[in-house]
């Protein structure tokens, strides 16, 4: 499902800034993040741990713990409303019904003392005003849909009675039970066995294709991105450093960080003797970031300007939305935002 510019964006994030107040100072976890999501699109957000992927998504639904977290700037436009300035009640009605989320660790993300059927039915009753019986029946249908054998009986089991993969299926059933327009999947397979990972990703892709649900897939696995996504945002130190379609990103990475990530993937045609490439150094401390490109100390192509000033986000001309934050491409600037 390639993106075409004529499909309307159903979610637009503009200049999102989220920070955390800690003893050591203000941690700028997300800094001026902008992207949009189109109907039926699968958008990947990649980056290392601590790059702001999860916080970005929690900020969209205002699920960041506050305090210490605080969304201090930006807009999240959904259905003609800015979710960041909407009332708590308005956002609550969007959660689970229009935009739902699944999380990394399905064991800790399911309530251990509530039967899974009830945990699924709860959202259905809440958002569709269904009676207990109808909601329970629909919960069983959802379990069946996502491939839980003997769904009727399993609905009255507790999370600890399921395997890891089955638990994540339960989470997906719960997230999709109200036919949301957008599913945010925050590293849905990180805690699972490799063999189960593929099953879960297939399930998400198929369900998304069937129902036209758009997906934001947070991951640190570029292989997953290549196999699943239509477009990608690459995050580094709280910023989106490059945004492109999957094809553009893999065949023509613009940002040196993206290139570094791609070079770090083990190749199947390697002799097995050469060392695996890794980007030198480690990500910066997000408290007190200097007025420089945060990637500059690790960048093989760093120039003088990189240490002096942060690069602006530059929109590249041509097909589909493509942006990059790098002085290398600032000259090719076609539209500075």
């Amino acid at each position: 499902m390639a993106i075409t510019t004529n499909v309307e964006a159903i979610l637009r994030v503009e200049g999102l800034v989220t920070g955390f107040r800690t003893g050591g100072g203000l941690v700028r976890a997300v800094e001026e993040v902008s992207f949009e999501l189109h109907r039926g699109e699968i958008l990947g957000i990649v980056g290392e741990s601590g790059s702001g992927k999860s916080v970005t998504n929690l900020s969209i639904l205002r699920l960041v713990q506050c305090p210490p977290g605080e969304v201090s700037a930006g807009r999240v436009l959904y259905g003609g409303k800015d979710l960041l300035s909407a009332s708590e009640e308005e956002v609550r009605l969007v959660r689970g019904r229009n935009i739902s989320m699944i999380f990394q660790d399905p064991l800790t993300s399911l309530n251990p003392v509530i039967k899974v059927g009830k945990q699924i039915a709860e959202a259905i009753r809440l958002h569709h005003g269904a009676k207990r019986r109808e909601a329970d029946a629909r919960a069983v249908d959802m379990l069946r849909l996502i491939g839980i054998p003997d769904a009727e009986r399993r609905a009255s089991d507790y999370p600890h009675q399921f395997s890891g993969g089955m638990r994540q299926r339960v989470m997906i059933a719960m997230a999709l039970s109200c036919d949301p327009e957008i599913l945010i999947a925050d590293e849905p397979t990180t805690a699972l066995d490799v063999t189960i990972q593929a099953q879960i990703l297939d399930l998400i892709r198929n369900l998304s294709a069937q129902s036209g649900t758009a997906v934001i897939l947070v991951t640190h696995d570029l292989g997953v991105v290549a196999g699943m996504c239509d477009s990608v945002c690459v995050m580094y130190a709280g910023r989106i450093v490059e945004r492109a379609t999957v094809d553009d990103l893999f065949y023509d990475p613009l940002h040196p960080y993206t290139r570094g990530l791609l070079d770090s993937i083990p190749r199947t045609d390697s002799t097995g003797k050469e060392r695996l490439y890794s980007i030198p150094g480690s990500p910066p401390n997000l408290v007190d970031l200097p007025e420089a490109c945060p990637f500059q100390p690790r960048c093989p192509k760093a120039q003088e300007a990189c240490a002096r000033e942060r690069p602006p986000e530059v929109t590249m001309a041509g097909r589909a939305p493509r942006t990059v934050r790098c002085w290398l491409h600032a000259g090719e600037d076609h539209h500075v935002s």
Partner: protein, 326 residues
């Protein structure tokens, strides 16, 4: 599943036997270590008994036989359900204890209810309003509740409320089934004195447990579902946060019973505590022994009930028939 629970309960009830045996040993010899024998207490200062009378008295009070023999005799009768006869009143011990037991149990249950009804909501509130002032206030009240001795609190209550007629259970005690309202009114202050310490403990546990649970991933999931704050707190958080509170409350219920025994004296309530106290004054060994055994049995039963309630509240706990929680 059903039969498992049945077997678990049976095993736990069987464990009562060694516990009660141990308690019987300890209490039997311990009471005889109290200076002054039952006979001395009975005779007091006026020793006008004849030699024959003394022999007879020594036989009745068991001073003509070795202690070990007395113990075996007592244990033998105990196994037949005979708790013996009071050295002072000559009445059977068990019916006397059982007639006093309901009042002490009622006090304990009321104190527990007060502790739960105050402690849990206050703990939840404290966990939600992390405002420094409220937090300090809660901590101070909690600490006070913990550190005030029950008997002192009870004495203050007697002083303070003696002007309110009927609040202090003076003289004629009314049983629950005679006049429930009057009965509860009479027991309110005593149970408050007993329960307030536990209320403070439960408040602290509820608060800390809630704070911990509110950070959990599944709370985030519940919020991401669009649930109302109320449903998140009561439907999702409390169900988990209550688990350690069950253990603490259950564990402390036995001590509440101990508290009831002291407080009965302050409020002059005819419960098991007063019976025990007078039995100790008079070295009425069979009565003391009987009461201690009954309390020990209640302790074990309360612990069993706690474990069963815990297993009901937490589906991850399975009661296996080795008699342990796993």
């Amino acid at each position: 599943m059903e039969s498992n629970v049945g077997r678990y309960i049976a095993k736990r009830l069987l464990s009562l036997i060694p516990v009660l045996f141990g308690v019987s040993l300890i209490v039997f010899f311990l009471v005889r270590l109290i200076p002054g024998s039952a006979l001395q207490m009975y005779l007091g200062t006026q020793v006008e008994a004849t030699a024959e009378q003394m022999v007879e008295l020594k036989r009745i009070f068991g001073e003509d036989r070795p202690v070990l023999v007395l113990y075996v005799e007592w244990l033998g009768r105990l196994l037949q359900g005979d708790f013996g006869i009071s050295l002072r009143t000559g009445r059977e011990v068990l019916p006397d204890i059982l007639s006093r037991l309901p009042l002490s149990l009622e006090l304990t249950v009321m104190a527990l209810l007060i502790a739960l009804l105050f402690g849990i909501p206050q703990g939840i509130l404290a966990s939600l309003k992390r405002n420094p002032f409220v937090d300090v206030l809660n901590r101070v009240v909690g600490l006070l509740g913990l550190s005030l001795p029950q008997f002192w609190l009870a004495a203050l209550m007697v002083l303070f409320f003696s002007g309110f007629r009927g609040w202090i259970p003076m003289g004629n005690y009314v049983g629950f089934f005679q006049d429930p309202l009057r009965n509860i009114q009479m027991l309110l202050l005593p149970s408050l004195a007993i329960g307030i310490g536990l209320a403070a403990v439960i408040m602290r546990y509820t608060r800390n447990s809630m704070l911990e649970v509110l950070e959990m991933d599944y709370i985030r999931t519940a919020r991401a579902k669009g649930l109302r704050k109320r449903s998140v707190i009561f439907g999702h958080a409390l169900k988990n946060a209550i688990l350690p509170v069950i253990t603490v409350a259950g564990f402390n219920t036995g001590y509440l019973l101990g508290g009831a025994i002291v407080i009965e004296e302050v409020f002059a309530l005819p419960g098991m505590g007063r019976l025990a106290l007078y039995a100790i004054y008079q070295r009425d060994y069979p009565v003391i022994q009987g009461i201690v055994l009954v309390i020990a049995a209640i302790f074990v039963l309360v612990n069993l009930a706690t474990d069963l309630i815990y297993a009901m509240a937490d589906p991850r706990i399975r009661l296996d028939d080795s008699g342990r929680k796993s």
